[in-house]
Symmetry: C2
Subunit: 501 residues, 2 copies
C-alpha cells in the first residue's frame, strides 16, 4: 500500500468509528515513517493512531534503541509494543534469558509511558506460551502492567488455539489481573479467529484487534468486519457510534478496492453473496417470509439480499429478480424464453451469478419495446511486440446507432483498452454521458483448466458511474471476444438504465 | 458440476476416508438421478452414499409422494431427509399446522426405514426453532427418533448461531436424547461455522456435515477440511483411516480444480499461503526455529511452508528461498542484485507472492553459467470478429534457440492460445518434451482499477507436467504482453528445471 492508500483507509476507519488504528512500524521502513508524519495533518474524529514496534533489543536500553526512538519520533498518542510471552521463543528466537526478556518489556514500556504515551502491550505467542509455562507467560503481562501498560493484549500469534482454550485461559488472566484492560489478537490458522476473538470478549476482554477483511499473513488476522457485526448484532454490544454499522459493507469493499485484494463473495456479513439465494426452494420460501433463509436483515450491515439466476433456477427466481429490479413493463409470458437463454449461455461458459447487469439486460431485451442503444458490427484487434520497440495495441470497431454506421479506430495500452477506447470513440458523439462511465474492475477466469490456453474464458466487467456500479459477463474461447461481450453489455446497460445525467 | 465431476469427487472422498457422501437430490433434477445410477458401479471402499430429499408434502402420504419415491429410486444405502424443526417455518413457509409437520416427518422416516434404508434426519432451522420454541423443536427430533431415524442432525440453516449457543443447546439435546446419534450442520453466515461444528462435537455430536472447501450458498457451509484437521489435530479425535490426513491439501485443491472454484490462498490448513512467511522478522525467527510462526507441521495435512519474496523482504527471505530451492551453485554476492530486480518488477506490477517459479527463474538467471533455453525476439497477435463469420485469432512468433532463429505462426481459439501454440510450434523441434507441459490455470488481475481497461494487468500462469505444477507472473498495461511474459517464463522454467523426462 502507498502512504496515500493508508491515509485513505485511516480516514475510512475513523468515519466507521473504530477506536484505534495501528498505522505501521516506523522503525521498519521509511514509508511507515512518512505515514506518521502525514497522518498528524488529518482531522480525525474518534480514532487514536498507534505506532507499532517491538521492545528494545537484547542488551540495549530503550534510550539507545533505534526502534524505540522511531516509535517516539512517530509522535502518535498511542504506541503498541510487542514483546515475547513465551519462554520457548525467548530462548530459541531471542536467544536470551527469561529475565532479560522481562527487563526488555518493563524498561521499554516504562520509558514510553514516561514520554506520555498510551501504551498497549502485545504479548506475542501468549497462548502458546501460557500452555507451556503459565507462570512465565503471566509474569510478562504483570511486568507490562507494573511498567504502566494501559492495555495488555493476549496474542494467539500462530493462530493455532481453539475457542475453548482461549476462553479458559482468558478467564484465568481476567481473574489474575482484574483491574487491567485486556485485549485479544487472533489469527485464523485454525479457521476460528472470529470465534476465538468473541470467546475472549465473553471472558472479559475489551480490546479486539484485527484487520478489515482479515488481511494478514498465512491464513489472515481476525476479520474486523465479522467481529464488529458479531459483537453488535450477536452479542448486543456497542462498538461503533450509533448508525455506523450500516457502513460496514461499503467499508469492506472500499478497503478491498484500495488494497487491490479480492473480497471473497462469501465473506460473512459483507460479501456480495452473503445474502444471496439460489436454490429454488429457498427462494420460494423467501417469497413467503423474507427472514426464512437469512440470519438477519442485511440492511443492518449495509448489504442487501439478492436472488441469483442460474442454470438450475427456474421461473420463480427470475420472477423474484424481475420484482427486485422493478421491471414493470415486461410481459411475463416472455420469462420461459429468458430462462432458456440463461441456460444456453451458461452452457457456453457464462455465469450469471453476480453478473446482475447481464441478467437485467436479458430481461430488458425480452421487452417488446426495447431499443438497443447501439449494435456491434465488426471489430479487429492487433497486439504486437518487436524487440526494442515496445508493445503496440490497436483496435478497429464498427457499430450501428439507429440507421447510422460509425467506424472508429484507437490505440490502447492493451487490446481490451484499445477496444474500450474505440467503442467510446464511436459512441461518444451520440452518447456524451458515456464519459462518466469507468471500467472499475475486469476479471478473467479460465474454465475447464485442463485445456490450458485453449479453454473457455469467462470475463466479468465492473463498470461504474458517479452513483452506481454494475457487473456483466462474457464468455468465449477467445479472451478478446469474451471481453468484448462483457464490455459491450456493460456499456449497453449503462446507456439503457442510467440515463443521461 | 457434471455427473462425471461428481463421481470423481465421490471417489476422492472415499480415498480420503470420509464416512458419507450426500450425492444430490434425486427428486430435483435428472442430473442427480443419473449420478445415483452411475455411482452404484463405483467400487467404493468406505464411503456410504446418501440421497437427499425432503419429507413428503403437506397432506400427502410417503407412498404417493414423488419426492420420496425418487429417494427410493436412487437405491442408496442411506437417505437424508430434511424436515422443519422450527414452528415459525412450519406456519410461515409450509403454511400448515405443527401437528401435520410432525406427521410428515414421522411417516416419511418410518416409510423409508421400512424400505431398509439407513435414515438421517436433518432438522432444518433447528437452532433458531429451539431458541423460539424449544418444546416443538425437540418434538420434531423425538418424532424422527421414534420413527426410526439412525441419526438426527441439528441444523443451523441460516448460519446465525454463535458457538456458545450451539454448545449449550446441543448439550441440552444430548441430555434429552442420550441414546441417539447426533449430527451438526453449520453454515458460515456469522463467520463461525468451524467453531460451531467443533463446539457441537464437544457437546456430544458424532456426525459432522460440511462441504470440501466450504462451498455452499451465501457464506458457505462448514469447511470439512478445516473440520477434519481440527478434529484430528486440535481435538485428538480419529476421523480418517491412519495416514490419510496428509492427503487433505491435495484433495482440497483437486476438488477446487474440478468444481472450477478458486481455493482461497489463505484457507486454513490447505491454502497455498496457509504456511507462508513474509515478514522479515518472522522469516528470521523461522530460520532459528521452524515452529516459531506456524501452529503445526504443514506436512501433517500435506501442505508445506513457503517463504515469500517480495518488495518488502530483504536478503534474508531470498537467502531462505535459495536454500528452500536447493540452488547450490548460485554466487551469493549476486543476491542484492536479485533483490533489486524484484523491487523494480514489483514496482511495475509483478507480484512474486505465489509466483515461485518466476522467483526461481530470477535466481537461475543470476547464475553466471545459466543458458536460457530460448530467447524471444518478436510476436504479433490478431483477433478479429466479422458479423456472421465468427471470431479468429492468430499469432506469429520469432525465437532464437542457440544460434538459430525459428519463426512460426499458429491459429488459436484466442490470442493467448494462439501465442501458446505458436511458441510450442517454434520450440518443439528442439524440445519435444514440451508436449507434456499443460497450461493448468491462467489468472488475470487488474491493478489500479480506477484506470479501467487502461490499468496494469497482472497475469499468473500455472503450468504442469505429470509430476509438478509451477506458477509464474507477468505484468504489463497490455494483457497480451503480460500473458506472454508469464507464459514464456513458465515454459522456460519447465525446460530449465524439469529435464527431458
Amino acid at each position: 500500500m502507498s502512504v496515500d492508500d493508508k491515509l485513505k483507509i485511516t480516514r475510512l476507519l475513523d468515519e466507521l468509528g473504530v477506536h484505534y488504528v495501528e498505522g505501521g512500524w516506523p522503525g521498519s521502513n521509511p514509508k511507515d515513517a512518512e505515514y506518521f508524519d502525514r497522518v498528524r495533518a488529518l482531522r480525525l474524529d474518534r480514532v487514536r493512531i498507534a505506532a507499532f514496534g517491538s521492545t528494545c533489543r537484547v542488551g540495549s536500553s530503550p534510550e539507545d534503541d533505534a526502534n524505540i526512538q522511531a516509535l517516539l519520533d512517530a509522535e502518535t498518542p498511542v504506541v503498541t509494543v510487542v514483546g515475547k510471552s513465551s519462554v520457548l521463543h525467548v530462548r530459541e528466537v531471542l536467544r536470551t534469558t527469561p529475565e532479560e526478556n522481562l527487563r526488555m518489556i518493563q524498561q521499554s514500556l516504562a520509558y514510553l509511558k514516561a514520554q506520555g504515551r498510551e501504551v498497549i502491550f502485545d504479548g506475542e505467542h501468549f497462548f502458546d506460551g501460557y500452555k507451556a509455562d503459565p507462570e512465565y507467560a503471566e509474569s510478562t503481562l504483570r511486568g507490562a502492567v507494573d511498567a504502566g501498560a494501559d492495555t495488555v493484549v493476549l496474542c494467539d500469534t500462530n493462530g493455532g488455539s481453539m475457542p475453548w482454550e482461549i476462553e479458559t485461559i482468558t478467564r484465568d488472566i481476567r481473574r489474575l489481573l482484574p483491574e487491567v484492560n485486556l485485549g485479544i489478537h487472533a489469527h485464523n490458522d485454525g479457521g476460528v479467529a472470529a470465534a476465538n476473538s468473541l470467546a475472549a470478549v465473553r471472558a472479559g476482554v475489551t480490546q479486539v484487534q484485527g484487520t478489515i477483511n482479515g488481511y494478514g499473513e498465512r491464513c489472515g488476522n481476525a476479520d474486523l468486519c465479522t467481529l464488529i457485526a458479531g459483537l453488535e448484532l450477536k452479542m448486543g454490544m456497542v462498538v461503533l457510534p450509533p448508525g455506523r454499522l450500516s457502513q460496514l459493507t461499503r467499508l469492506a469493499r472500499t478497503v478491498a478496492a484500495i488494497t487491490n485484494q479480492r473480497l471473497g463473495r462469501q465473506t460473512p456479513y459483507v460479501g456480495r453473496s452473503a445474502f444471496t439465494h439460489k436454490a429454488g426452494m429457498h427462494v420460494a420460501a423467501m417469497r413467503r417470509d423474507s427472514e426464512s433463509y437469512q440470519h438477519l436483515d442485511p440492511a443492518l450491515v449495509g448489504n442487501r439480499a439478492r436472488v441469483v439466476v442460474s442454470e438450475l433456477s427456474g421461473r420463480g427466481n427470475l420472477q423474484s429478480k424481475v420484482e427486485e429490479l422493478g421491471i414493470d413493463d415486461l410481459d411475463h409470458s416472455e420469462l420461459p424464453e429468458v430462462v432458456q437463454r440463461v441456460k444456453e449461455l451458461e452452457h457456453q461458459g457464462f455465469s450469471f451469478e453476480g453478473a446482475e447487469a447481464s441478467v437485467e439486460m436479458l430481461l430488458h431485451r425480452a421487452r417488446t419495446d426495447y431499443r438497443p442503444p447501439f449494435e456491434m458490427l465488426d471489430f479487429m484487434v492487433v497486439a504486437e511486440q518487436r524487440k526494442g520497440q515496445g508493445v503496440f495495441a490497436q483496435a478497429m470497431i464498427k457499430v450501428r446507432i439507429g440507421d447510422e454506421v460509425f467506424h472508429s479506430a484507437a490505440d490502447g495500452n492493451g487490446p481490451v483498452n484499445a477496444l474500450d477506447r474505440a467503442l467510446r470513440k464511436a459512441l461518444m458523439p451520440v452518447y456524451p454521458h458515456l464519459d462518466g462511465f469507468d471500467l472499475a474492475d475486469y476479471k478473467v477466469q479460465i474454465l475447464n483448466g485442463e485445456h490450458g490456453t485453449g479453454a473457455t474464458t469467462r470475463v466479468m466487467v465492473d463498470m461504474q458511474n458517479a452513483t452506481r456500479r454494475w457487473t456483466t459477463v462474457g464468455a468465449s474461447a477467445n479472451i478478446i471476444e469474451a471481453s468484448w461481450i462483457a464490455l459491450a453489455d456493460a456499456v449497453e446497460y449503462g446507456l439503457s438504465t442510467c440515463g443521461a445525467h
